[in-house]
């Protein structure tokens, strides 16, 4: 078993629609930067109700966080199968054979079945409308699965770097063809100077019109970045490799668009202009010093403008068009349920200290460190409700992890209370909409980020192992978290005993 590619995720969504329409239907979103289709699923039971809260669950925002899209899809399938059969969800028992332990080594954990009662299944489908976008960033997903596992962002290309790699070669040469002109043979382990010389000799390139870099940490990988410049006119087609002169095992030369990428989860319109929301020094403290806006250097590059990326707009539009009341964004791996705000510490007493108050612009230092102090407004009752929702998730995750609840102990915390505050997140964006003057609906909004997986990496970090129980454990945590999230919303919507009110006017 392997993690699904973007195409396989699309196929699974189509299959879910085919099997469970009209309870489950796909909705179309804009294609990705590289042209991959993106869809969401709407899950809504046929029972007529006066009030039904709208829920949005997203996954696959960050390409390298492999487990959440698969886990979200498997939960949706289980939910729909059980709903249709009027049966409980019964997830099988499993063994987790390589759970990491402090000090090194591994241990084995055995998990019980996880059962979600049939009545709860019916309520999750009938009493809320769930919109799910299991793969927000399909280009990044496929790049992470096939080119660079650690890739985080989308695949927007600003500087048009092309990655060249003589894969598996131990000797020989390859050639590169650019716009019909072919280089002389290039040694499999050529350095940047040699590759530059070969390309500059091409009539379609010429001297000074190519930049070659080999920034990768292990020279034996023979991976090279190439970018055309100067009098070579854009757009730049990918070079065509010929591997016939290479020797070694299963050798081949690959050329792919390296891209620069935008972090979708820094691209939302909430304090996106971090040098305005914070002081310059504050922004450089919260982020890093010299690379505030360098798409090549920064893993969480915010993009050229707020909402500049189609992947970001897809989520933001779903929030707006569907009137999302509750938002849950699935990520790896921090072992936390994160509540707003990510951009600053929170406070519940001074309503004038909010992101839209321009008198604080260029003065906030991050972490409440400026004088006089500034912290972001978060109404006390709303915080209590968020905390209650997070606690419900926490409790259900522990139940789902039986008898190993201690290995699935999730803290409910403010996203920005730790080491790395950040602006432009989807969670903060959705939450922020209720404070804007043009919040025409006047409704409260709830936003959470679920960072599944052990924060020390004992559950496999970004890449939970598919064949040892690591993935099953992380997926079980995600399923428990979603169930806790949805059932708490169901309870609130029904006016049950745990009720803070459903979304109301401020």
């Amino acid at each position: 078993m392997a993690y699904r590619t973007a195409k396989e995720i699309e196929a699974e969504m189509a299959d879910l629609e085919n099997q469970f329409r009209p309870v489950c239907v796909r909705f179309s979103l804009m294609d990705s930067v590289e042209g991959r289709p993106i869809h969401g699923l709407r899950i809504k039971g046929p029972v007529p109700l006066d009030y039904r809260p709208n829920v949005l669950i997203t996954a696959g925002v960050h390409a390298r966080e492999w487990a959440p899209p698969d886990a979200l899809l498997s939960f949706i399938r289980e939910l729909l199968v059980a709903y249709t059969a009027k049966a409980p969800i019964v997830e099988p028992a499993f063994t987790y054979s390589d759970r990491g332990i402090p000090g090194g080594g591994t241990t084995t954990l055995n998990y019980f079945q996880y059962i979600v009662k049939a009545n709860d299944v019916q309520n999750m489908v009938n009493n809320v409308v769930t919109y799910a976008i299991p793969m927000v960033n399909p280009d990044g997903r496929d790049f992470s699965l096939g080119v660079e596992a650690w890739w985080r962002k989308n695949r927007k290309s600003f500087n048009h770097w092309q990655l060249v790699k003589a894969l598996g070669a131990t000797g020989g040469t390859y050639t590169l063809t650019f716009r019909g002109a072919t280089t002389t043979p290039i040694a499999f382990n050529a350095d940047a100077t040699e590759i530059t010389q070969a390309l500059e000799l091409l009539t379609t390139v010429g001297p000074g019109n190519v930049v070659v870099d080999q920034p990768f940490p292990h020279p034996r990988d023979h991976a090279t970045l190439v970018r055309f410049t100067g009098t070579v006119a854009a757009p730049y087609p990918l070079m065509i490799p010929d591997s016939s002169g290479l020797t070694g095992g299963a050798h081949r030369t690959v050329v792919v668009d390296w891209g620069d990428g935008v972090d979708i989860n820094r691209n939302y319109k909430i304090a996106w202009q971090k040098e305005v929301y914070y002081s310059i020094a504050g922004a450089q403290s919260v982020y890093s010093s010299a690379t505030l806006d360098d798409p090549e250097a920064v893993q969480d590059y915010r993009g050229p403008d707020a909402l500049s990326e189609v992947e970001t707009v897809n989520v933001a539009d779903t929030m707006a068009i569907e009137g999302v009341d509750y938002y849950l964004d699935l990520h790896l791996f921090a072992g936390k349920i994160l509540l707003p705000w990510a951009l600053e510490d929170k406070q519940g007493t001074v309503s004038t200290q909010w992101f839209g108050n321009q008198t604080w612009d260029r003065r906030r230092a991050g972490g409440g460190r400026q004088d006089p102090p500034y912290k972001e407004w978060f109404p006390v009752n709303l915080w209590a409700q968020h905390n209650g929702l997070g606690t419900a998730m926490q409790t259900e995750i522990a139940a789902a992890a039986a008898p190993n609840a201690a290995e699935s102990s999730y803290a409910v915390v403010e996203a920005g209370a730790g080491l790395y505050q950040c602006t432009g997140t989807g969670n903060d964006y959705d939450f922020s909409l209720q404070f804007l003057p043009d919040n025409r609906e006047g409704t409260e909004k709830f936003a959470m980020t679920f960072e599944a997986g052990d924060p020390d990496g004992f559950d496999g970090g970004f890449f939970p192992h598919m064949n040892t129980g690591q993935y099953e454990k992380v997926a079980r945590d995600i399923h428990g978290g979603i169930v806790g999230f949805l059932l708490q919303i169901v309870a609130w919507a029904a006016g049950g005993p745990l009720q803070p009110p459903p979304p109301q006017k401020h």
Binding site: K165, S288, S289, A334, Y420, P455, G457, G460, H465
Partner: protein
């Protein structure tokens, strides 16, 4: 494939913040924990060179998963065309 270890990095707040965009280091930003006394920890993937860099800055680095196990997990998860970098 480039070799990365999964590591826990312990150090002072501002030093760990400065690691954010170091080459060969991919942090799980929200894995941070306040250890008290001005010390924090954060988890991420690092090359040997990035580990040396963090150590030079005064951080303590613990290997959670060695590069073989990380590579095995990536191979198992990525299917027929494992990542090339």
């Amino acid at each position: 494939m480039t070799l990365y270890m999964l590591v826990a990095i312990k150090g002072k707040r501002d030093v760990l913040r400065g690691l954010r965009d170091v080459g060969g280091l991919h942090l799980s930003f929200h894995s941070d924990r306040d250890l008290g006394g001005g010390l924090w920890s954060v988890t991420g993937y690092a090359t040997e060179e990035a580990v040396r860099h963090a150590v030079r800055l005064g951080c303590a680095v613990t290997v959670v998963m060695d590069d073989d196990r990380v590579a095995d997990a990536i191979r198992s998860g990525s299917g027929s065309n494992p990542p090339i970098i």
